[in-house]
Symmetry: C2
Subunit: 205 residues, 2 copies
């Protein structure tokens, strides 16, 4: 902790390793922390110190949780016949936050975190993902529908295709999130691929 | 520290109090920290825990420092006849970083941190700023020039005018940083006031 640089530069160097934080914003953050009540830095330090120890992977769905199974998997009010398959644990949080933690009608099912996407160029094959666990959840449970909530990227498409193929022999319905124009977006700024998907996925009104 | 929300939400809430960090980027940061080596969270926690205790105000210039006087004030290689007057301690860092910590020819003088700008509407009068200390530095030392490096805002202008007035009786030259178009900027995007300043401050070529 005590190298030659001073405390401000050390904190700036650490903060600028956070995503989306450059050296300038890390500097602003450090001075903001200095100007703020010391209790703030203390609380942040405490949370960070205990962060990794407090958070585990849910043994059922693979999302980050403090309890095992996670609150979603252990909630009897959730519809266990629908599983939403996501790439990363943070995707669970995005969906839960958007839909009011399962209280909205949009999605009240469970989750499954793949832990990545198939990316042959990066050496990530299907064996690196938690597909085996997903299949045993399907086999053992009353799962009727799988919603693939994978990013509309080459890796997401590849993984979705792979899952569709191996899931053909299982009695589950498989769907994928619609891809198209973002709400509030402008045709003018849509790229060709997004536009083409929004045409192919057009909905009768 | 242990309220009902889980560790991720508590960290997200704390991180989103940082400047320029919304709830979404705080979430990305929290998951980044989870994915990273636990040593990173530990180092960040340690720096934050000791941060306020390590940093003091320099008793001469008022900037943040671990030693007193600060490295700039105690550097015999700096030109003590020039003092650059700034609003906040972080401005010292910006100028030092830009000019290679006094190794460039642009600025090799000392600093004085006012600790704010005159803002009558916010109840900040000249008495709230370290103007008395600045005057005694001028009286006791061999100060020949003051560079007012205050933001080109109403508060910065007011403070600069006030300083110019009270410094009239002192044998020091007072200047202010040039205001005008940013380098690499475009006339098209300059606001009227900036453009008008760049006209008034035009330089013969």
């Amino acid at each position: 902790m005590n190298d030659a640089r001073n405390a401000i530069e050390r904190l700036v160097a650490l903060l600028s390793r956070l995503p989306g934080v450059g050296k300038k914003s890390a500097g602003r953050m450090a001075y903001h922390i200095l100007d703020a009540d010391p209790a703030y830095a203390r609380m942040l330090a405490e949370e960070l110190a205990g962060f990794h120890a407090a958070i585990h992977r849910c043994s059922i769905c693979g999302s980050f949780t403090e309890t095992d199974p996670c609150p979603v998997c252990s909630d009897p009010g959730r519809d266990s016949s629908i599983i939403c398959v996501v790439e990363r644990a943070q995707d669970v949080r995005v969906i839960e936050e958007s839909f009011g933690n399962g209280t909205s009608t949009e999605f009240r099912g469970l989750f499954h975190v793949l832990g990545g996407l198939i990316a042959p160029l990066d050496g990530v094959g299907p064996d690196k993902l938690s597909i085996g666990q997903l299949l045993s959840r399907i086999r053992s449970g009353a799962v009727k529908e799988l919603i693939l909530a994978l990013n509309p990227t080459i890796e997401g498409d590849t993984t979705a295709l792979y899952l569709q193929k191996i899931l053909k022999d299982y009695p589950v319905e498989v769907s994928r999130l619609a891809s198209g124009l973002p709400v509030g977006g402008d045709l003018e700024y849509a790229d060709r691929l997004t536009l083409s998907r929004s045409f192919r996925g057009r909905i009768k009104v």
